[in-house]
């Protein structure tokens, strides 16, 4: 399978057909759930507390379902209206926005207890339109995101090695601290990389699973 981010911009790639396929593929659902669970774990939120979270690139709401299951209130943003419509039809509890993360987050300071983004950030690294400059878009995303986090709380993003340097650099320039968590580093099959960020504090980056 070719990596989707090479094929077309997300709003074109995730059209109605793809959105339906994506949501019916049980393996895909399983992976998405596991990544979300791990993101939540890495956020290290206070136990038993309903938090206010942002899901960037929420797609059809698979990750959001896990957030709801964890008792959280959340907002999702995605550029694909088709994916959002699927999320709606599946009865998703979060508030959804049709938005481009490269145009920045549009929430006031101190809004969110935490932010996750499951397999979406790499889309920002692509130049898919003449007027899209990846570095500028990453900068816009991370600086506006930094601005809307409740200080001290964190963001976690599973990502892949290919884009890691570029994404990490943009996040640090925007003021985030933190680092990379690698789960199962010795297994090519199970290995997963997460970028774990803190806003306003120097936090401890959790250890990866082995």
């Amino acid at each position: 399978m070719s990596r989707p981010e090479y094929a077309a911009p997300p709003e074109l790639f995730y059209n109605a057909d793809e959105a339906a396929k994506y949501t019916q593929n049980t393996r895909m659902i399983q992976i998405q759930r596991q990544l979300t669970e791990r993101c939540l774990e890495l956020l290290n939120l206070p136990a038993e507390r309903a938090c206010f979270l942002l899901d960037v690139g929420c797609g059809s709401g698979l990750s959001g379902e896990q957030l709801t299951y964890g008792g959280h209130i959340w907002i999702g943003m995605d550029i694909s209206r088709d994916m959002l419509d699927v999320a709606n039809e599946r009865g998703c509890e979060g508030d959804l926005f049709e938005a481009d993360m490269g145009q920045g987050a549009f929430y006031k300071p101190g809004t969110f207890d935490g932010v996750i983004s499951v397999s979406a950030l790499q889309w920002l690294c692509n130049q898919d339109k003449r007027w899209h400059e990846p570095r500028k878009r990453l900068k816009k995303f991370f600086t506006t995101l930094y601005g809307c986090m409740w200080p001290g709380l964190s963001a976690s993003f599973p990502t892949d090695l290919w884009w890691l340097e570029m994404i990490t650099h943009a996040a640090m320039k925007a003021g985030f601290t933190g680092g990379v968590v690698v789960d199962y580093p010795h297994s090519t099959r199970a290995k997963k990389i997460y970028l774990c960020l803190f806003a306003g504090v120097v936090g401890n980056v959790p250890r990866g699973k082995t």
């Binding site: 507390r49 309903a50 943003m77 209206r81 926005f97 049709e98 549009f106 006031k108």
Partner: protein, 123 residues
């Protein structure tokens, strides 16, 4: 879209200074019950802008029972917290519009989802 979410929104149109609050107009509103969680509502006391929440609720016809100011004993006043819970989480705007207070740019809301995509020259 919930009014909690609306209370956090600011306009991201190029050149906007403050961009807060976006003016909300609603042509279709739905009420949906959400389990009351006092701890969550109490923590939102510090995050929301009360006059904006109250004014917006009134403008879309959902502002009954909301006091002008947050009561001094808000954190322990269950009657108030329940009213706030209702207006924050149980009022859903399904169809309507958000308007940037500085540029007048409008963002349509369809099936509960605002379209916040900017054009090239607005970024």
């Amino acid at each position: 879209m919930k009014l909690l979410t609306h209370n956090m929104l600011k306009s991201h149109v190029k050149g906007v200074k403050d961009g807060y609050p976006l003016r909300l107009s609603a042509s279709k509103v739905e009420l949906k019950e959400v389990t009351f969680n006092a701890d969550f509502v109490v923590r939102m006391l510090d995050r929301i802008v009360w006059p904006v929440l109250r004014q917006t609720a009134i403008e879309i016809g959902q502002g009954d029972n909301l006091p002008t100011d947050i009561p001094a004993d808000a954190a322990t006043n269950e009657e108030f917290l329940r009213a706030m819970h209702h207006v924050l989480l149980e009022v859903l705007v399904l169809e309507g519009e958000l308007e940037c207070p500085e540029t007048g740019r409008k963002f349509p809301i369809k099936k509960g989802i605002p379209n916040m995509l900017l054009d090239e020259d607005e970024v």
